[in-house]
């Protein structure tokens, strides 16, 4: 597997405050990579910078080996799409109108809308199960539907790489799984490279091929969830004590936090 995205000595800051310090990372092609870390550790900032939404203070982001700052923004947009955290659509915009905007980097002044554009937009709507809802207004959809509409927009961009900043925030559990299943399928069937920030460590372990744990402006660990997730990692990255078990359905690491709460272990016995 080659590395499709890399950062070279990347330093990011807001004003004088350094968020990420000389970070080097390789993101493998065709896999799902998930950034994890405590609040304010800079994982979203890193993702945004990789997506060229934030200019680095120093260092660079390489896309297919080329510095992203040297490529035209349209060129980048044909290779990489990003879905930021909770985007908002203008009042009255329909799902179809929204998704069509994903074709922007493929259009020119002369060639404004082609059959291929139409086809790709319809495919994106189909993949996200938004076909039936395409004429509905985005601001009238439920949270899960809305997020699917935005993902359809990034799919219409028809890029090999999709970056998502906390795509499951504000969604209930059913819809979280629905969105992650959708992204997993996109990766399985179409070999798209997916990079995202997730808060839920256990879901991250289930869906990610590659976990990137961030702490102290640097990468603390990177690798397969089953190789890197440990009590020690959780302690160091999230400052939380836990026991790492196995997901009974998938066998992926399952992190069970310590803390307070109703303990009824003795009453129901060991077998539960």
């Amino acid at each position: 597997m080659s590395d499709i995205l890399q950062t070279k000595d990347l330093t990011l800051s807001y004003g004088d405050r350094t968020i990420i310090d000389e970070l080097n990372i390789d993101i493998p092609k065709g896999e799902i990579s998930v950034f994890i870390g405590g609040n304010g550790c800079g994982k979203s900032t890193l993702l945004r910078s990789i997506a060229r939404l934030l200019k680095p203070k120093q260092g660079s982001v390489l896309l297919d080996g080329e510095a992203i700052s040297r490529l035209s923004t349209k060129e980048v947009a044909r290779k990489m799409a990003i879905l930021p955290q909770s985007p908002t659509a203008p009042e009255g915009l329909t799902v179809l109108q929204l998704v069509k905007q994903g074709r922007y980097p493929h259009q020119t002044w002369l060639k404004q809308w082609s059959h291929k554009d139409e086809e790709i937009v319809q495919d994106a709507l189909k993949a996200t199960k938004m076909e039936e809802l395409q004429h509905r207004k985005v601001d009238e959809l439920s949270g899960g539907q809305r997020q699917r509409a935005w993902i359809a927009l990034t799919l219409a961009q028809d890029t090999d790489i999709i970056l998502l900043d906390e795509p499951t925030t504000y969604l209930d559990m059913t819809h979280q799984i629905e969105i992650l299943d959708l992204l997993f399928e996109l990766n399985e069937k179409e070999k798209r490279t997916i990079v995202m920030v997730l808060h839920d460590l256990n879901l991250a372990c289930r869906y990610a091929h590659n976990i990137v744990a961030i702490r102290d402006k640097q990468i603390y660990a990177q690798g397969k969830p089953e190789d890197v997730i440990s009590c020690e990692l959780v302690k160091n990255v999230f400052d939380m004590d836990c026991q790492v078990s196995r997901d009974p359905l998938f066998g992926t690491p399952l992190c069970i936090p310590f803390g307070k709460g109703r303990c009824i272990l003795n009453a129901v016995g060991e077998t539960g």
Partner: protein, 336 residues
Amino acid sequence: MLVDLSAMKKIMILGVITVLVLIMSTGIGDLKIAPWKVVSVFFGGGTSLEQLVVTSFRLPRIIIALLAGMALAVAGGILQGMIRNPLASPDIIGITGGAGAAVVAFLTVFSNDDNTLMVSIKWLPVAAFTGAAVIAFLVYFLAWRKGVSPVRLVLIGIGISALTQALTTLLMILGPIYRASQANIWITGTVNGSDWQDVWILLPWSLVFILLSFFITRQLNIQELGEEIATSVGGNVQRQRFLLLLMSTALVGGAVAFAGGIGFVGLMAPHMARRMVGSSFGALLPTAAFIGGILVMVADLIGRTLFLPLEVPAGVFTAAIGAPYFIYLLFKTRNS
């Protein structure tokens, strides 16, 4: 496929209404001329009196009203999309205020002790346009900080707007009362006294920029999704913002130069259009343009006929007829 079929129909209907309003309005006044006669005058028919009234007195001001309305509406639509705020309008980023201050300054500087202008009144539009352009660029320049963010643009625009208004008031109070009322009529917005020379300047200017604006609807569509999405899909956000601002300044500058500070059209017309054809700018801008044109033509018609022999500036009525309809629209759609 920028505009879908049902929106296209609505735009065509609005286009027809615009032409009808233009013809009807031309026929109404002291001398009533039936609509079909107006059309025949357009093609060289009618009596010589009808010829005179239609072509010399009424048509120039009606065309100026139409063009100014269209330009203000399109500029408002562009600004609302770019700033991503439904309250954005040409007034808010200081353009109209700049033109107003420039006009008052022009009247003050070039009047002699007898309160007569020392230069031709024909230079007034030039002053207005210059004021609009200077203020627009000043706002843009002051809002710049590693690029221009819509919020900074609006806040600085409001600040500069207040300054220009203070300057306008000061000049009006310091000057003789005659000049103050002269300036006040201009600031409210009027197309009274427009002639064909004005039309031949404003017509190509507005048409070029209105037509150009339909080439930037794709940019506007992505701008309205926010800076991040616009960047993600490959938009050069800062360059687009500059271009869009330049476009709306040109449109508003032209409109205020010949029709004065007609208010509310730039805010209202795009909203009404949005409710008719939705948020896609391919349909929204032409729809807003026709609505704006109709609004100012009707406002001018009321202003010059309802209170005869008094002539009331059209700007009074754009708000007077527009605002109630606007509120009604918002009220009607409050549950959807």
